[in-house]
Subunit: 279 residues, 4 copies
């Protein structure tokens, strides 16, 4: 653990800058992006990946994981140093034309005056810290938030959410930024969040939401959905009273070892429904 | 605090009049409106404002904030002494043709025999008391009502509902009108409600619903939606047991300082969906 | 209270007959109906009443009050001794062609071999006992059933459900039929249910559902919807803990005195939506 | 009870094989199916049965009993030794072309390289053990799962779920397979599950879901729906506090004796809605 007081002093200064950035709104942020040397592109991504990323945005809305807020990204298929994310837009409104390429410092390759998500640093910093991660979801699922503001740890109630059994840390932004506007709106807070996530599939953000990662878009989206289902199941089971039998660590490991086959059947359904609505 | 007995005596007489008014129904109320000198118009409002007001009605229904009841108004863009509100109609059925101009005593400029909401005085009296307020929503959100009938104060569970941290007073109509029909159906009760609201973003009404205000239609509608989300989150967090970490006052202030950017992304989504359904 | 053992003996015999009737299915029941002298018709009902009755069936489904089961009737506009009710059919599938005229003993005027609801006696016996009642709804609303199987009385949480404050008795079928198949499938059980209802707007049926009455179709349907909302509100308020302020009897009375104006705004919305779906 | 240690040893070996099978994915499993002598067909099933099976898949999704996972089968109308089940696919996507014939060892008659549900052994083993069963549903209903991970037994709260009163055993897979991947992915676990089911209508699976059987597709589907409704009702009734009056065993029996008429009205509604969506 680094010295807490030193961190506090550091963030006292950073917070002032954050507030300046946050208050300028989207246009100035984009301008600030242009002021730095813009990163070069890794080339056009696979159109199938873009299609899946657009579908992911709509699926997360259809499943009630996101409302007007929240975002989902995927690592570029041509470069591990780039990721793809929509411009600032409600997920349900995202189309292929809204997808933007970012470097891992979360600078847009071709900003063109567009506004970007204030919290895109979540994505960039997680991709830096976790080479195994190919996709990141940030959401405010109402089922999940109560577990971030209490001391009750999320547990794996059923097999479809076995990954919960790997552990669900909680990111308390006060530990890293003191009293903030709650947003992970700079690289430092993004990096702190990535450190709290560690090697886990998901991290809760106190009073805010969650970040879910995966080795593919399909996995990060499906984990987001089943994190939500599991949170509801646990709350319901607790309300019944008495002891609860959660999945044992061995059960978690054996189910996880089944691997990628796990969520493809759901993805096929979700994507077909999302695409039908878009037409 | 004024003398409680004097108020009681005053309201004993007022209640009799209220009952007379309430029992006459819509037609006679409109007629009564005509009997006074009708207020003059402030001129045609901006068509974009009317469009947004119609959208607001539909959004509040889509989001489950209102059912067949509840209403939303906006201050006239040509005069701070006029506001715009639908004639008496379920919000989901409101079109531009149903929007009526009222003065701050809640008299219609051009009643044309139409029936109006019995509780329109909520709007007029809040606009009188709060020059900063540009829009008022009254609703019976089922998620919110339980907090009005218990002693449990609503608290800000997550950043999207940071405004809840400014405080949520509860209007006990018995304190101002004794035993009533529960409706804020005259200017006196409307003024009492506005006083209870004070300088806050929202006030609960015991056994009835809530009033939510904003510096724009977008803000009053979004606050109505996130008040509802927050109430659900708090109830769920309380059900898990143990201590809950709510947003601290400094966090509330810093998030609120982000200002109007806060809810535009949601409004764009909600309006597009509401308009698509109307076509 | 009559002698319990005598009632038990009486019902031991009646139950045997009930079981015979129930086991024969719809066709034989209809045949049995024909075997008695069929009642004469009161003449064609007002087409607007039929249209409203069909709408009521669809509204109750749209609002989640009924699923595949439950039924709604209205007293004939040409005769207080006749009522109108669909043949045995899920409410969401009912059209004008399915409406059947019954006398107050619940014999169909023109059975034509159609199957009827086994529990139509609920309607006939309530119309006999309550001349003020013009419409009867029977449903299994999931929000309401928990209050029928516990000792927790339903209370009026908000003004839209003020009628709950008139009192909500619970019909324990064991008190009248001993151990039954739970269905009110004969006139005797129907009459017992009507006695338990007394002069109230609604009665819960333990382990089964509820019956809601009104002075019009609009009122019985709206009360069914708001009974459901109120039950949810009370459960949520109880879960928050602490004392709850329900509507006081005077508040109930004053709101009820507002009369029929109460629910017309909701009916207009509900009917328009239901009719649009049918087209 | 057989010797627990002997079973453990047996399953230690079996688990290794299971893991091998599970990890190979769909294609190899189908290939393995072909390696055995493929079973012969019982001939083409009644097209009306296929239509009902397709409808059952969609109904279970419409009612929220299944999401992307879960499956429903029906015994072949030409042979008690064959059953019909979709290839591996989300229920909402199933069409007549996806229905496959299996023998009771859960080998496909005509695999054609298609992937099958890993847990199809649930169906085959239940059909072996229960000649009275004509249809089997496996699902992960979120309302039901909490009762499988606590010690709270499901009880019949209302008449529509009277069958719950026959008893709802819980299958603890650890008792038969030790620490597994939670899936009933071989005949041995399927047989153990069928033994736990015994002569009951349903069995919960700890940390997983439930299996529901019926003497027809209509019954297994309707029981799945009302199991879910009943679980919600019981949780709500328990939350109100105090003693709960469940259906007595005699009431359960008498309602059950009403027989097949019970759920046809709901089936007609559900099928018409499901079919309309497919068009």
């Amino acid at each position: 653990m680094p010295d807490a007081h030193a961190i506090d002093r550091l963030f006292a200064r950073r917070n002032f800058l954050n507030a300046c950035v946050a208050l300028t709104g989207g246009a100035l942020i984009a301008a600030a992006g242009r002021a730095r040397s813009e990163p070069t592109t890794a080339g056009p991504p696979d159109p199938a990946l873009i299609e899946d990323l657009v579908a992911a945005n709509h699926i997360l809305f259809d499943q009630g994981v996101v409302d007007g807020y929240g975002h989902v990204s995927v690592r570029h298929d041509k470069s591990t140093d780039r990721y793809l994310l929509s411009r600032s837009l409600a997920p349900e409104l995202v189309t292929a034309a809204d997808i933007v390429e970012f470097d891992l410092d979360s600078n847009a390759v071709d900003p063109r005056g567009r506004a970007f998500y204030l919290e895109r640093f979540i994505h960039g910093e997680v991709y830096k810290a976790r080479p195994d991660v190919k996709s990141v979801v940030h959401h405010h699922s109402p089922a999940v938030i109560p577990f971030g503001v209490t001391k009750v740890p999320l547990q794996p109630v059923f097999h479809m959410a076995a990954f919960v059994g790997e552990g669900v840390p909680v990111f308390e932004i006060r530990d890293f930024g003191g009293m903030t506007n709650m947003l992970v709106s700079n690289p430092q807070l993004g990096a702190a969040l990535a450190r709290t996530l560690g090697n886990k599939p998901t991290v809760l953000m106190r009073g805010h939401g969650a970040v879910v990662v995966g080795n593919s878009l399909h996995q990060s989206v499906a984990r987001s959905v089943y994190l939500q289902v599991d949170a509801r199941l646990q709350a319901q089971a607790m309300a019944l009273g008495g002891e609860i039998t959660y999945l044992a660590p061995e059960e978690v490991k054996k189910f996880e070892d089944l691997g990628g086959a796990g969520y493809e059947r759901a993805w096929e359904l979700w994507k077909r429904k999302a695409m039908a609505e878009m037409r």
